[in-house]
Symmetry: C2
Subunit: 275 residues, 2 copies
């Protein structure tokens, strides 16, 4: 019901993402990862400081942003209050952008049925990140929701990702095998901006799959190379700390807007951008 009144149009998730990025002229994803100790003084006195913080960030950035991505760990760490803040945040965005649950859920089918219900029915997210070590079972239940999206971990932004993702599978790195599998399932992929050449290899394999690119900002990923290498298919690039903590002062929302604009324009400046 929420999606019917949503500004996000399209039948498949990939179409919805593509249309929204085109309309906003933006490939920016803002990570909403609240840490109580980093919340600015201005919101600390609110009844629900985390929600007040998220609302201020959303208000300051919504016209520049295609996707908001709350990382569920940061809400879970706050206990029941965290889940309440998260639910209020998803409702507040209310279809004005895609809301992606960064949850990395991944278990056998009967469990994924319950996780999909949690993400799409209880919280009303538009999409979810998935870890597919268990294979197709991880995504099947999520794909039964029309218009909803799935991004599967492929090449993560961290260094120790090498330990599994770069093992040699019949002469090629494991993440390429994962990219092929996930593309055959019709799902999106997660590839870190910290590895732009791997991103190019993944785009070669999965030509029209949506790609979520984390790792810019605090993690130091390469925005221009990543945008260039992901273009040709739908993608969004995520910054969390680099945007929401751009200032620790009471001007945090304005600073977040400036950082969002900068990231949006940096991506747009890539000449080869076809997405």
């Amino acid at each position: 019901v929420r999606n019917q009144s949503s500004i996000v149009k399209g039948v498949t998730f990939a179409e919805r993402l593509h249309a929204l990025c085109a309309e906003r002229r933006s490939h920016v994803c803002v990570g909403l990862d609240p840490l109580p100790e980093r919340l600015p003084a201005k919101v600390r006195g609110a009844d629900d400081p985390v929600f007040a913080f998220n609302r201020a960030i959303v208000d300051a950035t919504i016209d520049l942003v295609a996707v908001y991505k709350p990382n569920l760990a940061f809400y879970e760490a706050l206990g029941l209050e965290g889940w309440t803040s998260l639910k209020r945040t998803v409702e507040y965005i209310g279809g004005r952008a895609i809301v992606l649950a960064d949850a990395k859920r991944g278990d056998i089918e009967s469990t994924q049925v319950a996780y999909a219900r949690a993400m799409f029915e209880v919280f009303g997210f538009d999409a979810c990140t998935i870890s597919a070590y268990v294979g197709y079972d991880a995504v099947g239940p999520f794909l039964s929701y029309p218009g909803k999206g799935v991004f599967v971990l492929c090449r993560t932004s961290n260094r120790s990702g090498d330990e599994l993702q770069n093992v040699n599978v019949d002469g090629r790195p494991l993440y390429e095998h994962v990219a092929r599998l996930v593309d055959s399932w019709g799902c999106g992929l997660v590839v870190g901006a910290t590895y732009p050449s791997e991103l190019a290899a993944v785009r070669e394999i999965a030509r029209s799959a949506p790609i979520l690119i984390p790792g810019v900002g605090a993690q130091g990923g390469d925005v221009e190379a990543s945008a260039r290498n992901a273009a040709g298919g739908p993608f969004v690039m995520n910054s969390s700390r680099g945007i929401i903590y751009a200032s620790s002062g009471d001007d945090f929302a304005e600073a977040a807007r400036r950082a969002t604009l900068q990231l949006r324009d940096e991506i747009a400046s890539v000449a080869a951008l076809a997405g």
Copy 2:
């Protein structure tokens, strides 16, 4: 604080698990995976039906059980009420058995710090299942809690697990590479009872690592072969639906006790059992 008054003794998690299995003469793990539509009529009228159900199962089985394993998906699917039921369940067990969060969390380090806080500080779990596609970063923050345990997905109980776990890495299946890595990190492993020969290969690699063996009961895993192949190191074998839904009637708790006894004795009957 809770652990100091706990009956679960030992310095490392592996020692605590071993001591508890020895004291209870049981390697049984009971999966607490509540589905509202399967709750018996007897508990449906309770203020908190899920907690009432879990409490009845715990009361009927605690002397036969080393580990209780709530799968977080089933609580998450119930929204805020689910998280409340979960917290009450962990508190109710209150150190009388090991409580393992079946959460399969797995993300980069800064996120895992938040998940570890959620699991060990907010909810008070003794251990957590982890998906380590991102490498060591997935476990590092969890290992900084002394006495707490981590079980990393190695060979899952489902068929589509093959798609990643059995790819050929330099002549050996990926799950063996994962077993080696995880053993070097000092963590436990998850290996399904549906693949007893793979379990033997993992025990060969990780001789003293705790192993969580799901997939018996509803999933049809081989209890005797799995117990035989895991023995030699600490292990527990999990049944969820086979125990908690052994009866759909008002005798569900008694039926759960009978199913637990049967699984405990079936494991104990394995002559070669050294664990």
